[in-house]
C-alpha cells in the first residue's frame, strides 16, 4: 500500500452496464412469479391488486361499460410498479452474477495429481495419478507443480512455492506459500508459478472458497438479514394499516353518498403503501454485499455486513496497520562537541551501502533534513562492513575514516567506553529514545563517539485523521501490539488510538473482546495467524486476511482478499451505508404519502363534495388525471431511485445526531416536497397528451 493511498477505492464498475440491464429486464419478468414475490409483502400486495384491476379492465372492455381507457392505464402502471421493483432486484443480482461468471471460469475442469503415497517425504516424481478435481475428498494429498491450478482449498504439508492468486484477489504479483506457519493455506483456483508443493485437501468439492464466493456474489444463499427482516415487518404492518384505511373508506364514502370504484381504491392503496422502499429493499441488501466485494472483501453472511455498521470497538494490529512495521530514522542527536551537520555527514557515509530499510531511511533523512548529497564512492578504497549478529554493528572504512553504527552497548565497547562513563547528554538521549518506544543507534568515527540515530516505528501518515473520523462515528480504536506497555503507550499517543493492549497474547485478545462484549459493545478485528482464530471467531466482525491460514479464514466472517487490515474502516462504513440507505428510503417513501393524499382524495369526492377541491393544492387537471399521475409517479420513483439504492446513501463520519438531521432534511423533507412537484409535472403531461 502506498503512503498516499490511505483510503481505498472500490474496483471501478459501471453502475449500470448495458449487458446487465438487458439480462435484468428479462429476469424482472421471471420474478413476477407470485410464489417468489410473496417474500416481499408490499410488492406482493401490489401484484395482487394489479391483477384485480386488469380483470376489471377486461370486464369493462368486454361489457363496453365503465372507463376502460382509465382502468387500463392504471392496470398498466400497477404492473410497471411491480416490474420496476423486480427489475431493481434483478439489476443488483446481475452485477453479482457477472462477477460470479468470471470466478466460475477458474474452476472448470481442473485436474488434480493425487499422490499414491501421501506419507512419503520429498519430491514424489511421477508417483501420482490424475483425477478430476471434482472427485477429490477431504484429506486427499495432491501434488501441485509449476503451471498447475491448485485443485481445491488445502494446506501445504510440504514444500514452498510462489502462487498467483489473481483469480481471487485481482492482484497479479505472486505470493509465497509454504508448509508450516501462517502462510500454509492455498486456495483452489489459484496457480502455482514455481517450485512444487504437496497439499492436503481441506474442502469438499462444491464448498471451496471459490464456490462460496460464487454463491455469495450471486446471492444464491441470500437470506434476509435481521435488520432487513425487522424493516420488512414494519413495511408489512404499514401495508396492513393502509389496507384497513382504504377498505374502510369504501363504507365511509358510501355513507357520504359516494360510490367508489375498486380501481380508484386500488390506486389509493398502492400509492399509500410503501412501494418505493418495498421495491428497493432487496436490491439495497444485495448492493451492500456487492460494494464489499468490489472492495475485495468477502462476507460470509449479510448479517456480518450489518454487524459491521454497529461496531463499537475496533481492534487493530499495530504492525502493518497503524505503523509501517519497520523502524525508520527520525532524528540525529550529536554528543557535545559534534555539530549536527558533521554527525549527519558521518551517518550518511555509514549508511551508503546499507540496503536495509533502516539504512535507506537514514540516507533519506540526511538528505531531506540536512540537504546532503550522497558522496561518490567510485574509485575509492572503501570497505563495507556488513551488519553481523555477533558484532551488532555495520559501517564503512574509507579514506582513512572508520565509521561504525549499531547497538549502543556494542558501539560504546568499540570506542572503549563503559556504559556508565559515556557522556551524560548521550545517556539521557538513549533513555529518552527508549522510553518513547524508539530504538537508539550509536554512531562512532575513528574511535570517537559522535552521537545517536533515533530509529522509530513510524506511524502511517493520515492514520490519525482516520481514527479521529472513527471516533466521530462513535467507534473506539484499540491497538494490539507485542511491544512493552511503554513503547505501546508512546505509539498509541502518536497514532491517536483510544486504547492499547500491550504485550498481547492471543489469550489477552480473546479476553479483551469478551470484556468489551459483556459491556454491550460490538467488536471488530482482523487477523491472519492460526493463533488469531479464536479471537476472530469471538469478535462480532472478524476479518481474516486472504494471506492468512485456513484456520483464520474459517474463523472470521469476512475475508479481505487484499490482506489490508486498514480496510476494516471501509467495512464499517459499508455496513452503516447499508442501514442508512434503507432508513432514508423508508422515510422518503412514507413522506411521499402526504402529497398523494392531496392528489387523490379531492379527486375521489369531487362529485359529492366539490368543496373538497380546496385540497387540490396542485390544481391537477381532472380527477382521473390526478389519480393516474399519482400512480405513475409512484411507479417511476422506483426506477429513479435504483441508482441510489445500488450506490447507497453516502456515509459521513459525523455524530449520529448530525447525520440524522441531514438525512431527515434530505429524505424526510425532500420526500414531502418531491412528489408534489413530480405529480404536478406528470399531470401536465397526462393532460397535454389527453391520456384520460
Amino acid at each position: 500500500m502506498s503512503l498516499s493511498n490511505m483510503s481505498h477505492d472500490a474496483k471501478p464498475m459501471k453502475l449500470l452496464d448495458g449487458g446487465i440491464l438487458a439480462t435484468a429486464a428479462i429476469d424482472a419478468f421471471k420474478k413476477l412469479n407470485p410464489r417468489e414475490l410473496a417474500r416481499n409483502p408490499v410488492i406482493f400486495v401490489t401484484e395482487v391488486v394489479a391483477a384485480l384491476v386488469t380483470l376489471l379492465w377486461a370486464k369493462d372492455l368486454a361489457n363496453g361499460s365503465g372507463t376502460p381507457v382509465f382502468s387500463g392505464q392504471i392496470a398498466a402502471w400497477l404492473w410497471f410498479t411491480v416490474l420496476f421493483a423486480t427489475f431493481a432486484e434483478a439489476i443488483a443480482e446481475g452485477r453479482g452474477k457477472a462477477q460470479a461468471a468470471s470466478l466460475r471460469a477458474t474452476r472448470s475442469d481442473a485436474e488434480a495429481k493425487l499422490l499414491t503415497d501421501g506419507t512419503a517425504k520429498g519430491y514424489p516424481g511421477k508417483a501420482w495419478k490424475t483425477i478430476s478435481a471434482l472427485n477429490l475428498k477431504v484429506g486427499d494429498i495432491v501434488l501441485v507443480e509449476p503451471g498447475d491450478l491448485i485443485p481445491s482449498d488445502g494446506e501445504i504439508i510440504e514444500g514452498v512455492a510462489s502462487v498467483n492468486e489473481s483469480a481471487i484477489t485481482g492482484e497479479s504479483a505472486p505470493v509465497i506459500r509454504e508448509a508450516g506457519g501462517d502462510r500454509s493455506a492455498v486456495t483452489g483456483g489459484t496457480t502455482v508459478l514455481s517450485d512444487w508443493i504437496k497439499v492436503r485437501i481441506t474442502a469438499a468439492p462444491g464448498s471451496t472458497f471459490i464456490d462460496r464466493m460464487i454463491a455469495l456474489v450471486e446471492g444464491a444463499e441470500r437470506q434476509k438479514t435481521p435488520n432487513e427482516l425487522a424493516l420488512s415487518v414494519l413495511l408489512a404492518g404499514l401495508t396492513l394499516i393502509f389496507l384497513i384505511a382504504v377498505v374502510t373508506l369504501y363504507g365511509l364514502a358510501e355513507y357520504s353518498n359516494t360510490a367508489l370504484s375498486v380501481v380508484v381504491l386500488v390506486a389509493l392503496l398502492v400509492t399509500l403503501i410503501p412501494t418505493t422502499i418495498g421495491g428497493l429493499l432487496s436490491a439495497i441488501g444485495i448492493a451492500g454485499m456487492d460494494r464489499l466485494i468490489r472492495f475485495n472483501v468477502l462476507a460470509t453472511s449479510g448479517r456480518a455486513v450489518e454487524a459491521a455498521g454497529d461496531v463499537d470497538t475496533l481492534l487493530l494490529d499495530k504492525t502493518g496497520t497503524i505503523t509501517f512495521g519497520n523502524r525508520m530514522a527520525s532524528e540525529f542527536i550529536p554528543v557535545e562537541g559534534v555539530t549536527p551537520r558533521s554527525l549527519a555527514e558521518t551517518v550518511l557515509m555509514s549508511s551508503l551501502a546499507d540496503q536495509t530499510p533502516e539504512g535507506r531511511s537514514i540516507v533519506a533523512l540526511a538528505r531531506s533534513e540536512y540537504g546532503l548529497i550522497e558522496p561518490d564512492l567510485t574509485g575509492k578504497q572503501a570497505e563495507i562492513i556488513p551488519f553481523a549478529a555477533q558484532t551488532r554493528m555495520s559501517g564503512i572504512d574509507v579514506d582513512g575514516r572508520s565509521i561504525r553504527k549499531g547497538a549502543v552497548d556494542q558501539v560504546l565497547r568499540f570506542v572503549g567506553l563503559e556504559s556508565a562513563s559515556a557522556p551524560s547528554d548521550f545517556r539521557a538521549s538513549v533513555d529518552r529514545i527508549s522510553r518513547s518506544g524508539g530504538t537508539p543507534l550509536a554512531v562512532a568515527e575513528n574511535g570517537r563517539l559522535m552521537g545517536l540515530i533515533h530509529l522509530k516505528d513510524v506511524v502511517k501518515p493520515g492514520i490519525k485523521e482516520r481514527f479521529a473520523a472513527l471516533r466521530a462515528m462513535g467507534i473506539k480504536t484499540v491497538m494490539i501490539t507485542g511491544d512493552n506497555p511503554l513503547t505501546a503507550a508512546a505509539i498509541a499517543t502518536e497514532a491517536g488510538v483510544d486504547d492499547f493492549l500491550a504485550e498481547a497474547t492471543p489469550e489477552d485478545k480473546l479476553r479483551f473482546i469478551r470484556k468489551e462484549q459483556t459491556g454491550g459493545r460490538l467488536v471488530a478485528m482482523c487477523g491472519d495467524g492460526t493463533n488469531d482464530a479464536p479471537a476472530l471467531a469471538q469478535a462480532d466482525v472478524g476479518v481474516a486476511m486472504q494471506t492468512g491460514t485456513q484456520a483464520a479464514r474459517e474463523a472470521g466472517n469476512m475475508v479481505d482478499l487484499d490482506s489490508d487490515p486498514t480496510k476494516l474502516i471501509e467495512i464499517v462504513e459499508i455496513g452503516k451505508q447499508l442501514l442508512m440507505t434503507r432508513g432514508s428510503l423508508t422515510t422518503f417513501s412514507i413522506a411521499n404519502d402526504v402529497a398523494k393524499y392531496f392528489a387523490i382524495l379531492p379527486a375521489l369526492f369531487i362529485v359529492t363534495y366539490p368543496e373538497l377541491g380546496a385540497l387540490n393544492v396542485m390544481h391537477l387537471a381532472s380527477p382521473q388525471s390526478a389519480i393516474l399521475s399519482a400512480v405513475i409517479f409512484n411507479a417511476l420513483i422506483i426506477i429513479a431511485l435504483i441508482p441510489l439504492a445500488l450506490r447507497g446513501v453516502r456515509y459521513r463520519p459525523v455524530g449520529a445526531a448530525a447525520l440524522l438531521g441531514r438525512n431527515l432534511a434530505i429524505y424526510g423533507v425532500g420526500g414531502l416536497i418531491v412528489p408534489f412537484i413530480g405529480i404536478k409535472a406528470i399531470d401536465l403531461l397526462v393532460a397535454a397528451l389527453h391520456l384520460v
Partner: protein
C-alpha cells in the same frame, strides 16, 4: 383569542410543569420499593393486604404471568361490576330506587369502567344508585387506573433492567399504585372539590321549587369523591350526564383549573418516573416535551377555531368577538374549554366541560385526532406511557437506520420481534376505529341514531369508535348510544383498545428485559435531545395519523369547507 385566555392556559400548564417532577420522583421511589414519607402509615396496611391475599411481594413475575395476572384481575373486576349493575335494585344506597341496568348497558358500562374508558351510554343521575357509583364505578376508577400504572411500570422495568427475566409483581404494583398514589391525592382533591362547591352526600336528591313555582328535582350524591378519581385517574366517567360542564362536578373557574391539572398531572409525571427508573431523567423530559408539543399546538388550534367563530352566525349578526359559544359554559370561556377539550382527548380521560359536538368542525377535528393518535399525549394513566414507548420504538427504529446502526432505545437493541409486536399493537387502532365506523356508517339502523346528517353525523360515528378504542370515553354526543348495537360494538372496541393493545406491548417488555444494555457512543442516536423530540412527533403524526386522513377528510374537513359555503347539517 385573548391575552387573558392564554394567561389562563399558561397558568395551568405551569402548574402541571412544576408538579410533575416531585410526583414523578415520588412514584419512582414508591415503585422501586423505597421508603417514602407515607410508608410509616401505609406500609403495615400494604403488607396486611399481601398477607390477606397470600401474595409474596418479593416474588417477581415474567411478562406472561404478569399479563395473565392483569387479565384475571380484570375478569374478576368485570364479573363483580356487571353483577352490581344488574342487581343494583336489591343493593343498598339506592335512595332514588333506580332499577337494575339492562344486560347490554350493564355489559357496556362494566367493560367501560374496567378498561379505564368510562364511556357512559346512560345518564348517571337517572340511572346509577349511589351504591353502584361508589362500590362499583368509583372502585374501578381506582383499580383501572392502578392497572394502567402497573402495566406501565412493567414496561419501564424492561428498559431499566438488563439481562433479566422478570418485570415486577402485578399485585404489588397495583396495591402500591392505589395506596401510595391514587388514594392520598384523591382524598385531598375531593376535599378541595368540596371546598369549591361540589356536593359530597349520600342523599339522593332534593326537590326545589323554582321561581315559576315548578318543582325541580336536583340530583345529589357523593360527587366530590367520584370527581377526584374521575379526573386524577383519567377515567372521565361523570356523576352527571353533562360531566364536568355540570356546576356540581365543576363548580367554578378555580375548580376547572384543578380539574385540568388533576387529569393531566399523573400521566405526565409517570413519564418522569419512567426517566428516573431507566436512569435518565432527561429521557423523561424528552417525552414530556413531545406531549407538550401536541398539547400546546392542539390547544392553540381548538382555541383559534372556536375564537374565530361560526361565519354563518356571524353573517346573521351575532357578535363575532364572542366566537363560537355554542355548548360552552360561560364560566369557563373559550380558552379553558379549548384546553379542557384537548387535554381530555390527548389523555384518554374523557371528562368534558363542553360538548365536543358543538365545537367548530376544525376544533372538533383536533379532539378526534388527538384520540386517534393513540391516546399517548400524554394518554391515560400508564397506558399513555406504554403507548408512547411503542411509538418511541418505531421512531428509534427509523432513526437508527438513518444513522447506520442497528436501532436501540435506552441501550436495548430493537429487532424484528419488537417491531412485529409494536406494529401489531399499533394496528389495533385503525382496525377497531375505522372498521367499526365503516360498518356502522352503512347500517341504516345505526345511521338512524345519529343526531345530525352529513359529515357531522359521520364525525359522530368516528368519534364514538375512536373514543371507545382509545379508552377515552368522551362522547362527541349527538348520537343515541344506548342501543344494543352501540353498547355491544363499543364494548368490543374498548376491550380491543385496552387488552389487544397491551398484550403485544407486554410481550415487547418481556423481550426487551432479557436484552443486554449496549453502551452509548457518539454513533448512538441520543434519545433525550430535541432532535428525538421532533422525530417522535413526526412518527406519531405519520404512523398514528396518516391512516385517518381520508376519514377526517370526509368528516370534519369537508364539514369545514361546506360551512364556508354556508351549508350546515
Amino acid at each position: 383569542m385573548t391575552l387573558n385566555g392564554w394567561l389562563q392556559i399558561i397558568l395551568v400548564l405551569g402548574l402541571v410543569l412544576v408538579s410533575v417532577r416531585p410526583l414523578g420522583l415520588y412514584m419512582a421511589r414508591v415503585f422501586e420499593g423505597q421508603k417514602t414519607f407515607l410508608s410509616p402509615v401505609l406500609s403495615p396496611l400494604e403488607h396486611g393486604f399481601y398477607v390477606l391475599a397470600g401474595v409474596k411481594p418479593d416474588k417477581e413475575q415474567g411478562w406472561l404471568s404478569y399479563t395473565l395476572a392483569m387479565i384475571v384481575f380484570s375478569l374478576a373486576g368485570f364479573a363483580s361490576l356487571y353483577a352490581i349493575l344488574r342487581l343494583q335494585a336489591y343493593l343498598p344506597w339506592n335512595p332514588q330506587g333506580f332499577d337494575n341496568l339492562p344486560p347490554d348497558l350493564a355489559f357496556n358500562t362494566a367493560i367501560s369502567f374496567l378498561t379505564n374508558t368510562n364511556w357512559q351510554a346512560y345518564s348517571g343521575e337517572t340511572t346509577m344508585s349511589n351504591g353502584s357509583a361508589m362500590l362499583g364505578l368509583t372502585v374501578h376508577n381506582f383499580l383501572s387506573a392502578a392497572t394502567g400504572i402497573a402495566l406501565a411500570l412493567a414496561v419501564t422495568r424492561a428498559f431499566a433492567r438488563a439481562s433479566a427475566s422478570t418485570l415486577g409483581n402485578f399485585w404489588v404494583d397495583v396495591t402500591r399504585a392505589t395506596l401510595y398514589v391514587l388514594l392520598p391525592i384523591s382524598i385531598l382533591l375531593a376535599l378541595v372539590f368540596v371546598f369549591t362547591g361540589s356536593p359530597q352526600t349520600l342523599l339522593g336528591s332534593v326537590d326545589a321549587t323554582t321561581l315559576e313555582g315548578a318543582k325541580q328535582t336536583i340530583a345529589l350524591g357523593p360527587v366530590a369523591s367520584e370527581e377526584a378519581i374521575k379526573q386524577f385517574g383519567t377515567n372521565g366517567g361523570g356523576f352527571f350526564n353533562t360531566n364536568s360542564a355540570h356546576p356540581f362536578e365543576n363548580a367554578s373557574a378555580l375548580a376547572n383549573y384543578l380539574q385540568i391539572w388533576s387529569m393531566i398531572v399523573l400521566s405526565t409525571a409517570l413519564l418522569i418516573t419512567f426517566g428516573k427508573m431507566v436512569g435518565s431523567e432527561r429521557q423523561g423530559w424528552a417525552l414530556v416535551s413531545v406531549v407538550g408539543v401536541f398539547v400546546i399546538v392542539g390547544i392553540g388550534a381548538v382555541y383559534a377555531a372556536e375564537a374565530w367563530g361560526n361565519p354563518i352566525l356571524n353573517a346573521l349578526g351575532v357578535d363575532p368577538t364572542l366566537g363560537n359559544m355554542e355548548g360552552k359554559e360561560i364560566r369557563f370561556g373559550e380558552a379553558m374549554t379549548a384546553m379542557f377539550a384537548v387535554v381530555t382527548t390527548g389523555l384518554s380521560c374523557g371528562a368534558v366541560n363542553a360538548m365536543h359536538d358543538s365545537l367548530m368542525p376544525l376544533g372538533g377535528m383536533v379532539t378526534l385526532f388527538m384520540i386517534q393518535l393513540g391516546e399517548v399525549l400524554p394518554g391515560g394513566v400508564g397506558s399513555g406511557l406504554y403507548g408512547l414507548i411503542v411509538f418511541a420504538i418505531l421512531a428509534v427504529f427509523i432513526a437508527g437506520l438513518m444513522v447506520g446502526r442497528t436501532p436501540e432505545f435506552l441501550g436495548k437493541k430493537i429487532e424484528a420481534r419488537e417491531i412485529k409486536l409494536a406494529m401489531l399493537a399499533v394496528l389495533i387502532l385503525p382496525l377497531s376505529m375505522l372498521s367499526f365506523s365503516a360498518v356502522a356508517a352503512v347500517l341504516p339502523s345505526v345511521v338512524a341514531t345519529l343526531g345530525n346528517a352529513g359529515p357531522h353525523g359521520l364525525t359522530e360515528i368516528l368519534y364514538a369508535y375512536s373514543s371507545a378504542t382509545g379508552n377515552n370515553g368522551s362522547a362527541f354526543a349527538g348520537l343515541n348510544a344506548n342501543t344494543p348495537w352501540w353498547n355491544t360494538t363499543l364494548a368490543i372496541a374498548m376491550v380491543l383498545g385496552r387488552f389487544a393493545y397491551v398484550v403485544p406491548v407486554m410481550a415487547i417488555a418481556g423481550s426487551i428485559v432479557t436484552k443486554k444494555r449496549a453502551s452509548a457512543s457518539a454513533g448512538t442516536f441520543p434519545t433525550d435531545r430535541s432532535l428525538f423530540v421532533g422525530l417522535l412527533v413526526g412518527v406519531i403524526l405519520i404512523v398514528g395519523g396518516l391512516q385517518f386522513f381520508p376519514a377526517l377528510a370526509l368528516g370534519p374537513i369537508v364539514e369545514h369547507v361546506l360551512m364556508l359555503s354556508s351549508k350546515t347539517f
